[in-house]
């Protein structure tokens, strides 16, 4: 295994020197739109798009500059300023890993900005929407570009805020407001883990910076590293909707669809994967228990997400289940050490494309169907929305791993590496791929094939160009990107300076046992979906379904579990605490507060308003001061 190269301080100018512009542009956009408010309503969306594109241009230029450097020079730390004196500096780390993320965030982000011009055109608050989107892009870039955990954490909370604001964008809908709150609260659990992990990190090493950690982390004791690793994993689970903190993601689909595509599919939810891969060299050494925990969480979530996806009739919730599942694959890859990192990141990038493609496709369908999300009320849409249909099909084929499309290479890479490292987890991933074949085919058949089951006032039509062009660009990426990245190990070699790589480069096998088994299972899944939803008629009302279906529909009883495991005992705990609190602690605290307030009230009477009283107080003060000085002097 080869470890990452050392981080070098960036000295020369160039684009890397001003890479902070990447963050500054969208931040400025958000600030302008929020501060000037309604005055910018007419051109606000254009400013938002321009800022996102400007950021993309900087990212591309920085990427090419990095490409021009030798492998040993490809980790450039750009010092910005001393943040908290003696504690942390603020700086950016431009390396293959961070710049890959930056390209994905700004590239896909810009496409979704453009798409939103059309999607949100009838919304009176479109300008506010774009300001939040800009805010998100800035925070996400800070998250991936910061050269220390403190900066990462600020970005981490920033994307959390943007996510909260955007899920609840239509806050007049109670369901959206509740979903936003739920996302926020569940993420708080994860953030708590990240925060405590950082506390331990700081007390053990005295630094948050990646560069210093790579020297100091080796000196930490094994249990300490495990503790930090597991706490970071908790943080990652919250942000990336992994078990056991997955419950918020499905509800988060209450947000406008472009948000679901950008934040809850392509970028923010992958932050957990980024955190694990970035911390890999320090806190997740290959073969350690915490790395195994990452892989197990990934495998469990990929199955859970896939099962949930099977039973959802809401097209966006189906896709959300699928997102959970796909991030599970990435987590699994990230838990396998340097051998899996490239595939995890590769899958993350291709997933960013094909999932964004399908989410925007779903948005396009909803746009044409009066915002209907129930797939039981779709059917036969392929003739009415040809471009949406073709692009969605591309995304579909990519996600189920149809040979030679993007998802095929990246997912297969994860599965094969997993089988090599851990037979059980590997074969679970194969089964997950089969289920993916089923639920995605189900979605396709219910939406685009079969009979019309539309509501009476539905007049499906193709979406405007501003929405279809991003779809086309994303689907082109969904076709070719995977092969380009994985064949001849381009991505692995590119990422090696940042995350290390295995000694022996893997060879892509087109006809390995797990690969063939995956294809076979996917075919079975798709065929079963055809029998149930393609050939047979789809009932317009949800049938009762078996025990298993209900299980999946209720999100594997995740909410019920949370309620009975945490909420109820939590409520009891609260009641008991309140009981004792009222008797004991409150007495003290209220007494204290009342004491201070009472003192305040009494002292206030000294403030009589008479100049003579004030003068007297000065005189007494002077006497006290003099007396005290003489006294102290003579002791």
């Amino acid at each position: 295994m080869e470890s990452p190269v050392e981080i070098v301080q960036h000295t020369a100018g160039g684009v890397i020197g001003v890479s902070w512009l990447m963050i500054a542009f969208p931040l400025l956009g958000a600030a302008i739109l929020l501060i000037l408010g309604r005055k910018t309503d007419r051109w606000g969306h254009l400013l938002g798009v321009a800022m996102s594109l400007a950021s993309f241009v900087v990212a591309v230029l920085a990427f090419f500059e990095l490409l021009g450097l030798s492998a040993e020079q490809r980790r450039q730390a750009v010092h910005l300023y001393e943040f908290i004196p003696g504690m942390a500096d603020m700086g950016l780390l431009i390396d293959p890993l961070s710049i890959s993320f930056a390209l994905l965030i700004t590239g896909v982000g810009s496409l979704i900005h453009i798409y939103s011009i059309g999607y949100m055109s009838h919304d009176p608050d479109r300008r506010r929407f774009f300001s939040y989107l800009n805010l998100f892009v800035a925070a996400m870039l800070l998250l991936v570009l910061a050269d220390n955990y403190l900066g990462l954490f600020i970005g981490w909370e920033g994307v959390g805020l943007a996510s909260y604001l955007l899920i609840g964008f239509w806050q007049f809908k109670p369901s959206a407001a509740v979903a936003a709150k739920k996302a926020f609260v569940v993420n708080r659990v994860g953030d708590f883990g990240l925060l405590v992990g950082m506390f331990i990190m700081w007390s053990a090493t005295g630094t948050f910076a990646f560069a210093e950690l790579s020297e100091k982390a080796g000196g930490l004791s094994q249990p300490m590293v495990t503790a930090i690793g597991l706490l970071l994993l908790l943080g990652a689970c919250g942000k990336s909707a992994q078990l056991p903190l997955q419950s918020w993601l499905l509800d988060a689909m209450e947000g406008p669809t472009p948000v679901s595509a950008l934040i809850h599919a392509a970028t923010m939810v992958t932050a957990g994967v980024y955190l694990v891969v970035r911390s890999g060299a320090f806190f997740f050494p290959e073969g350690s228990p915490q790395a195994l925990a990452v892989a197990i969480v990934g495998a469990a979530t990929l199955l859970a997400g896939a099962i949930i996806g099977c039973a959802k009739d809401d097209i966006k919730k189906g896709l959300a289940g699928s997102t959970m599942s796909q991030i599970g694959y990435m987590m699994l890859g990230a838990g396998l050490g340097p051998a899996g990192y490239a595939f995890a990141i590769g899958h993350l990038i291709t997933h960013g494309f094909f999932k964004a493609d399908m989410f925007l496709g779903a948005g396009s369908v909803m746009h044409g169907m009066n915002d209907e999300v129930d797939m039981r009320k779709y059917g036969a849409l392929r003739k009415y929305m040809p471009i949406t249909f073709v692009t969605f099909m591309v995304g579909y084929l990519a996600i189920i791993g149809f040979p030679l499309l993007s998802g095929y290479f990246t997912k297969d890479g994860i599965i094969e590496t997993a089988v090599e490292h851990n037979q059980v987890l590997g074969w679970l991933a194969v089964i997950g791929a089969g289920i993916t074949g089923f639920y995605m085919s189900r979605m396709i058949f219910m939406t685009f094939f079969g009979e019309k089951r539309w509501a009476e006032d539905a007049h499906p039509h193709e979406s405007p160009t501003v929405m279809t062009v991003p779809l086309i660009i994303l689907s082109i990426g969904s076709i070719f990107l995977g092969g380009y990245l994985i064949l001849s190990n381009r991505l692995m070699l590119w990422l090696a300076p940042a995350v290390g790589r295995p000694e022996e480069l893997p060879q892509f096998h087109f006809a390995s046992t797990p690969g063939l088994a995956t294809l076979a299972l996917v075919a079975v899944g798709a065929a079963y979906a055809w029998m149930k939803y393609g050939r047979a008629e789809v009932p317009a009302v949800q049938p009762r379904g078996s025990f298993l279906t209900t299980f999946a529909r209720r999100d594997l009883y995740g909410d019920a579990l949370n309620e009975s495991l945490f909420m109820r005992p939590g409520q009891w705990l609260t009641r008991i605490a309140v009981f004792f609190d009222n008797r004991g602690i409150d007495g003290v605290v209220n007494g204290l507060a009342a004491g201070i307030g009472g003192t305040s009230g009494r002292l206030r009477r000294i403030q009589t308003g008479f100049a003579r009283t004030y003068a007297l107080s000065i005189l007494i003060g002077a006497a006290l001061l003099t007396g005290a000085l003489l006294l102290v002097g003579n002791i």
């Binding site: 004196p85 305040s600 100049a611 000065i618 001061l625 003489l630």
Partner: protein, 528 residues
Amino acid sequence: MNPIMQAPTIEYGTLAPMLLVFGAAVLGVLVEAFAPRYLRKVMQVPLTLVSLGGAFALVLVQVIMRGAPTEAVAMGAVAVDGPALFIWGVILVLSFVCVLLVNDEGHFVASAAAVPGSADEEEAEAAGGGHTEIYPLLLFAVGGMMLFPAAHDLLTMFVGLEVMSLPLYLMCGLARRRRLLSQESSMKYFLLGAFSSAFFLYGTAMLYGYAGTVSLPGINKALAGGALLDPLLLIGFAMLGVGLLFKIGAAPFQAWKPDVYQGAPTPITALMASGTLVAAMGAVLRVFWVGLGNLDWNWRPVMWAVAALTMIVGAVLAITQTDIKRMLAYSSIAHAGFLLIGVMATFDKSQQNAGSLSAILFYLLVYSFTTVGAFAIVTMVRDPGGEAGHLSRWAGLGKRSPLLAGVFAFFLLAFAGIPLTSGFFGKYAVFAAALASGSESGDSLGGWMTGLVVLGVVASAVAAFFYVRVIVLMFFSEPAADGPSIAEPSMGTVAVIAVAALVTVGVGLFPQPMLDVAHQAAANLFIR
């Protein structure tokens, strides 16, 4: 025959910023005397702004071209050293900003001499136009603020103190609304100010009796060789301390602050809460550092008690205030207490404490800008009878005017010292410096310093309560049906709020450049 008196040498170049302000003030008086009424404002405003801006430019030129001088100038009467230049710069920017507030219509009475409610007053009101004398008065006050912390002997310092205070007494009585309250505050401020000045002067006389000189380094030299327990010295020092602590509003000399802050026209309150505090704090630092550096073990316990009492009184009394300006006054008292913690840290025996000096300078800068911004917002929330002072009138402001309430909430959070605002770094710098100096000294002092910092943190927590209470009131209460109106702000007021908010945000996010400047200023230390 020897000449009886030598002509004094004056370093005009070094003193140029101060001389420019005083010169402009004199010119302003001439304008008042000779220019026709309708031309006065047109002439006074540019004159004031240009002189303040020019003085600031001169300070910059001085810093960049020559660096801080290492010798006292004007025959040893004035010391334009690093800290003094920093304080000048801050005061000039603050007063420039305050002039923009003063310039806004409607704060000042048309004829201050008229009896409130009389026919004379109505007549003057009808004739229109406010007092344009306010501009030269303000310039004199600013000149005094510059001389006060830069004075190198006690008599010059007294002159600075009076030049600063006298115009302020007058300006406090010029509020257009609530005339009686304003005149009362002016009267009180004048009486109590005169009282405290007497203490200052008496202390000066005692110290002269002890040391045979009024020059600060001279007193320190006398201390080095003389008896440290001489009652003359101790009484003189205590009296001097009373005069200085009165100006920064430390307990038990704080009583004037709420009454005066409430009654004075708000732009003048802003100037007093920022400029006067900065100047007085600078003078405190200079006296303790230059004049009494060799006495430090004597005054420490007393100063400790004053700092503790100031924080407690400020934070506790603010809780029950119902008037926004009074609340801010008590908040200012509490902050004076926090600054005194820094003063304790500065006079550590090791004398290697440019760090704590820079912490105080930094704190002064961030606090005063936030203060000016907060008072600027207070001027905008109005009832038919003037500013809406009572806190209940602020209920629900967040719903009527979210931007204004949001900015105000932000300033309050900065006062409370929440991270990512400038206030956080100010408090952090001062507390950290105090802890560092405590641990450096090693003896029992360390424990006392830690205790004071703990007390400071507790007082901050109490203070956070009343800051947050206003935020809760603004955003989570139903607005009153006949709530106050938000005045359409003039460009000047908008600029003031914008500058204050920018400094508060900017320093909160990127404290380093400002810390560097403060550190550079402190690195030269005071001329001794």
